[in-house]
Symmetry: C2
Subunit: 555 residues, 2 copies
Amino acid sequence: MADFFAAHRETLDRALQAVSVRDYWSPYPEVPSGKVYGETAKADGEAAFKAALDSKFDLHQPTDGRWIGSEISPYGFALGTTYPAADVEQLIEASEAARPAWAAAPVETRIGVALEVLQRLNKRSFEIANAVMHTSGQAFLMAFQAGGAHAQDRGLEAVAYAYEELRKIPGAVLWEKPQGKNPPLQLDKTFRIVPRGVALVIGCSTFPTWNSYPGFFASLVTGNSVIVKPHPGAVLPLALTVRIARKVLSEAGFDPNVVLLAVDTADAPIAQTLALRPEVGIIDYTGGPAFGGWLEEQARGKQLFTEQAGVNSVVVESTDNFKGLCGNLAFSLSLYSGQMCTAPQDIFVPAEGIETDQGHKSFDEVCDGLSLALEKLLGDPDRAAAVLGAIQNEATLQRIEDSKGFGTVVRASAQVAHPQFEKARMATPLLLKVEAAASEAYAEECFGPIAFVVATPDAEAGLTRAAALAKTKGAITAGVHSTDETFLAKAEQAFAEAGVSLSENLTGQILVNQSAAFSDYHVSGANPAGNACLTDAAFVANRFRVVAVRRPHAA
Amino acid sequence: MADFFAAHRETLDRALQAVSVRDYWSPYPEVPSGKVYGETAKADGEAAFKAALDSKFDLHQPTDGRWIGSEISPYGFALGTTYPAADVEQLIEASEAARPAWAAAPVETRIGVALEVLQRLNKRSFEIANAVMHTSGQAFLMAFQAGGAHAQDRGLEAVAYAYEELRKIPGAVLWEKPQGKNPPLQLDKTFRIVPRGVALVIGCSTFPTWNSYPGFFASLVTGNSVIVKPHPGAVLPLALTVRIARKVLSEAGFDPNVVLLAVDTADAPIAQTLALRPEVGIIDYTGGPAFGGWLEEQARGKQLFTEQAGVNSVVVESTDNFKGLCGNLAFSLSLYSGQMCTAPQDIFVPAEGIETDQGHKSFDEVCDGLSLALEKLLGDPDRAAAVLGAIQNEATLQRIEDSKGFGTVVRASAQVAHPQFEKARMATPLLLKVEAAASEAYAEECFGPIAFVVATPDAEAGLTRAAALAKTKGAITAGVHSTDETFLAKAEQAFAEAGVSLSENLTGQILVNQSAAFSDYHVSGANPAGNACLTDAAFVANRFRVVAVRRPHAA
């Protein structure tokens, strides 16, 4: 058996350093280049993806014999891939049976398996990128980065954090308490790391890998058995992941059922049944607040980690780079058609306008600037396709339609044509302007390419409103533009109190949407947008427990 | 202003080492000796305690003008101490107002304040011991140790764990992402530790300090403001603690309302109102499962740490020291009249008896051995008083009475006289024998000096039953006696799966009840006896969150 831990030790050590220093680092190249991944990698990945279409995706895991699957590419075709279905009882039973040996394995063995899985996922990045693209609707480059390398980064980050916690627990200790002139009291103590049980990972349709990997790997290496329940619209990326994990587990001598795929359909969902099983000790959930709220209420006593929804804001007070501001915000609104939990929705601008390097800009001129920047970014169809990707869910198109009346249309959403996939479901951002006091629509999450420029009496009022929204509705990101350090300090304080990280004066290539593994704490866990951070110590430390055995030391 | 952090740095460093190595260590001497604490310390402590009787205990904190207090010493007199009452609104308002400056203080400043508080608590150990004795009913030596030195140890342990987590978070970082031949992308990032809000500590009547200090200190040093809500029957130990903390906070330049006492009475409890306030982000609770269950249901979205109840078992398979076994168990059952969350309740013995160094002992002979050992331990009134202490709650006496019919009485509970306090509420353990299958009474917690010797078909059946009880009803401790390593290994596995630590073959001075700071993880958090461990990384890491600010690096 290969010593996976030794093979990846250097990567792990570097990851441990990275999460501590939190500067830039990534072991998984984000450039889909043949020079990095091999000259045939792109073609191989595409071929592998195509081979999975219209066929049975076997996982050699317990099944009730049904083959189910209903994925539709947002680019306009049915995947036709089916997966082995199983009833919940079968899955739980297999997961329970597989866990003891896994839980009893040395920490380093489990960590090694996880690192090997990550490495193999990395090698398959092109295949996974195709799978992510044609389930989430992300454009290929984004699918390669967010669904491939960056998701792997997030997985490795979780492994590093977990290892940091696990290695703190000593194995055997001689406890020796002095008794004055008498001999000391002596106990031999051994500490055993015990898992919580079955860990359930509930994936989402927009970032099936990125959002699932932290919980998946954190639960896995802490000794739990894991059942992955993908969104029925985005199964393939996680099915590939599960298949690779099962392969590595087998090679390492473990029951591959330590990792299982629980596939379902929108008509017959099984997440609730799984979540309420007493064997399930941990749930990682990414998705809407309706099911998230249900879990919070019903899954009491389980470790629940959620990333739900929020209303992200950008507050504009002034800028020394108006063009950069507009261009950067246009990109933030357009990237993956705003289907990111980090995309801004509300842009607060003083009703009287702002001071810029181009002189005073009225509120309407700011709106026009944004509109023009969107036009410039999305005018070219190739570029538009590469930025926007496709709309994952039909309901999002309807939401755009339904939102038109929520304000005055600054720029209408247009259904653009994809140069390669003519049936792709695409839409440019709908940009509305509203007065803060006259509307409440902007105060609710409008998921997708829908954004509001919100007029407030002054910049401070915008800041107050944005921070209040973050605190009450949740927010994962916040942005501010100001040349005034005093205003920036106020914004830092206000958003810190609302539990949201802040990006200041982004006018270049970095977007408020972007969250870098090993450096940015994704989600604070301190407002309703989610109860946990991906990833920090709190995200991993409660996925296992410690029980001890102590006995008198034999003289 | 004194540099408290520098003054206590050495203690902190040693505590950090101790929680990592988990061998024996304590900075606070557990011997109530004049040589250690000063020749007048005993008299001074008693005098200070007496001065607090029948008088107003001022805390100089917000109050509505009422003075309330209803503590009755289990040794037979009313304390007569009253405390400034406040309505919940006042407390929350003061706590909220005090927090920002505390949260903004450097980590080391907060840690330094906590360490200074602990040191001053230690110096006041005699006074606190008297207060703990005359509220909990613990005998003086135990009150000095568990309520003084050991509670301080647990507080320091929490401070050390919190510091370990807090110091992981970097302050300012330059994030620099290479861009091939182009200049790197550069962001300045600063990470800010933000507290959860108001932390509520709900104390219990039996271990007012020991069980409250971990949550109190963990919440405090992570930047939260803390409201301490003692059990109305055990206010004084925590009032003393709060007064000392307020004094140190003031000296360090902070608003003393960072720490507040919320005193109430059994007739007009305020814990529910406090717990549901939206400003409260953290709740530490020790007490019964009724209120614990209510908190789990109602306090959703808050960080809740509980230690509730359970059914602790000892499984007897065989022994090479029958006398030691009986003596050790008799002590475990008698110490503080079984009013410990760690005291065993059920002793599982095979119906056909056990093999011992004294030859075969029948089930009844094992019962007799325990009974004799109790007689020997408690026959002398002075010794009985020192071991048993007093019964904290009248209801416990009633429970002994009500439990008599739950089995065959092996040894009746007797109301013994205290040599010093003639009105002391005292009772020796009630020891019952039952057949495992014929009774269910032993499967529920019978808090106080009530224990069952449970006959099972064989030792394995006892182990299975004990582990099942731990898993379903909760358990904080477990014990096993066996000369068979195979049986011990089975017990280790069974109790590990039930999430409870195991003590093997204790026949000397160490009791299953005892839990040593810096070494034993108290409560696993893995069964219904409590959802958290005192103390580990998970106990502290989620009491604060991190939010970042990032902006383009100025060239």
